[in-house]
């Protein structure tokens, strides 16, 4: 099912959470709403689900105006950051809830719940209560529950934000696989650009209640439409009139006519790469990323003076 939001605005008191936002999500896609906290991404998702009413604008589901439709009639599955598990029900009853509400026959409910629990690998824990589950297990239960009613759209509000890094990575790739199998239109909110870039087909970058850019992860990184996107999606440092990515900076031990002098302030060994923070002679900071081999060859150390040259810079004409 396709989703389109047209000129959606929402204020909370004096604060404009969404400022005339329009976005199209094609049916069957996996879309990320990416932005810093307070950018309005969760509000937009909640408006699509019907959990929040917009002050202005409309939401269309499959081309039909759904702005005034109650959440229970929208056919959406919603997954909350803090799971929203029904604490007084077992895992099985949690997952069965939407089916019981729809008064499906018992045998069908049992069969479907079994299949869903297998899908999220919670078969053995069906009779536990949410309090007896780990965070990752609770969120898998919430996913199974959201999928039980066969929603036309799956909406996830920072679904993995409260989980530790390893579980998050697992669930991330699980969600991508699920989408590849079912092709349910999926929209998830995240402030983690890695998460957005890794699993989404399309990323909607939001900032201060507005949409900054809608693009594939690759285009977003390579052709950011403005300075906000450049610096929010992936790391970037200012260099002269333009911006440079940490891996687009060359380091030399001797100066030439195109290099700038810089002091290595900090070095960090992160897995296969070495990251450095440099301060240029004019006081500007530059982030730098090298392979281990290169860092060793140059014998870089904190406090050392080096000479840097960008290999590729991006210049925005209407710089902020």
């Amino acid at each position: 099912m396709s989703i389109s939001a047209r000129n959606v605005s929402k204020r909370f008191g004096d604060y404009a959470a969404l400022d005339c936002v329009s976005v199209e999500v094609p049916g069957g896609s996996l879309t990320a709403l990416l932005g810093p906290s307070g950018s309005g991404k969760s509000t937009l998702l909640r408006i699509v689900a019907g959990l929040e009413q917009p002050d202005g604008g409309e939401v269309l589901l499959d081309g039909v105006d759904a702005t005034a439709v109650a959440p229970q009639q929208r056919g959406v599955g919603f997954v909350f950051q803090h799971y929203a598990a029904f604490k007084h029900m077992t895992v099985r009853r949690n997952v069965a809830f939407p089916l019981q509400i729809r008064k499906r026959p018992r045998a069908e409910i049992r069969e479907r719940v079994d299949a869903l629990l297998e899908l999220v690998q919670l078969q053995g824990l069906a009779h536990r209560y949410p309090a007896q589950l780990s965070g990752g297990q609770r969120q898998r239960m919430a996913l199974a529950r959201a999928l039980a009613a066969e929603p036309r759209v799956l909406l996830l509000d920072e679904p993995f934000g409260a989980l530790d890094a390893r579980v998050r990575a697992e669930l991330r790739s699980w969600l991508r696989r699920l989408h590849d199998e079912t092709h349910t239109t999926t929209v998830f909110v995240t402030h983690d650009q890695d998460e957005a870039m890794e699993i989404a087909d399309t990323v909607v970058v939001m900032n201060r209640g507005r949409i900054e850019q809608v693009a594939t992860p690759r285009i977003l990184y390579e052709q950011p439409s403005n300075e906000f996107v450049m610096s929010f999606v992936g790391e970037a440092s200012r260099f002269g009139d333009g911006w440079v990515r940490p891996h687009d900076v060359e380091v030399a031990l001797a100066p030439d006519e195109r290099t700038r002098e810089a002091l290595i302030e900090r070095l960090a060994h992160v897995g296969p790469e070495v990251r450095a923070e440099l301060v240029r002679d004019d006081g500007e900071r530059v982030a730098l990323q090298l392979s281990r081999d290169e860092a060793e060859r140059l014998e870089l150390a904190p406090g050392q003076i080096v000479y840097v040259r960008p290999t590729r810079t991006t210049v925005f004409r209407d710089g902020v």
Binding site: G50, P71, F78, A84, K87, F97, A149
Partner: protein, 264 residues
């Protein structure tokens, strides 16, 4: 260390003097006056009737206030509307107002010269000196307890589970019955127990509006008063002791319920 001990002694001593002392006295005096007389007072038809009236009033007032309390708590916690602060404050009014004042205002409202009195009399409805006014008075004084128990529980619960239920296809009523109510059930039960205790013990407001007619509009607490006024102390002690026994049962119930509520 001695300071902590002194504090503890003071707290326990206070409880003994203020709460347990009078109760012990009741038992002791009963022994002195003769248990036989007390027992015959308790089993007298008018006393039995008085207990029946008390139970009847509680049976009407408690369910009414349970429903009202839950609805009120939902309005206070889950909705945003004009006059919410006023509602929140007014729920507590019966705690601040003396029951006698409540009784008197009901008397003025439904009396022969009151706002509703003449109209009701014309339509053949007997409010004062009858069960309706006694129920009304009891409902008034026992109104806050369910709401006061449920409000903090609802706040702590948050509304995410309710939102989830809505997105999963549940209507507002289904969400309430299947999600909200089970989540607040211990708070509701606890509130109902406290409300029941308050209803059984109510004296002041009911005293003003009932007329205390033996065998008709006399509740158990009014019965104690009438025995006492007639210098039948053994009778007064006997009925009091039954009320005190009920209080102990309620106390035990509350102690049993409190940990479950904390866990829920």
């Amino acid at each position: 260390m001695p300071r902590r001990l002194a504090l503890r002694t003071a707290a326990v001593g206070y409880l003994l003097v203020v709460l347990l002392g009078p109760l012990a006295m009741l038992l002791w005096r009963l022994e002195e006056e003769g248990i036989g007389r007390a027992w015959s007072a308790v089993t007298e038809p008018d006393t039995v009737h008085a207990f029946a009236v008390t139970l009847e009033i509680a049976a009407i007032a408690v369910p009414l206030n349970a429903v009202f309390g839950v609805v009120c708590a939902l309005l206070i916690v889950r909705r945003r509307f004009r006059g919410q602060g006023v509602l929140n404050a007014f729920v507590d009014l019966p705690l601040a107002l003396s029951p006698v004042v409540v009784g008197l205002s009901l008397f003025l409202l439904y009396g022969r010269t009151g706002w509703f009195g003449p109209w009701l009399t014309a339509h053949g409805v007997q409010m004062l000196f009858a069960l309706p006014a006694m129920v009304l008075a009891t409902v008034f004084v026992s109104l806050p307890f369910v709401a006061r128990e449920v409000v903090p529980t609802l706040r702590e619960l948050g509304d995410e589970q309710e939102q989830a239920a809505r997105t999963l296809g549940a209507s507002g009523w289904q969400t309430f019955v299947r999600i909200t109510l089970p989540s607040i059930r211990w708070a509701v039960i606890y509130g109902v127990v406290v409300t029941t205790a308050r209803c059984l013990g109510e004296y002041g407001a009911v005293a003003v509006v009932s007329g205390s007619i033996s065998g008709r509009t006399e509740t158990a607490t009014l019965r104690v008063q009438s025995y006492y006024e007639n210098l039948d102390q053994a009778g007064a002690y006997g009925v009091s002791l039954v009320l005190a026994a009920i209080a102990v049962v309620v106390l035990v119930l509350m102690t049993l319920l409190k940990p479950r509520q904390a866990a829920a």
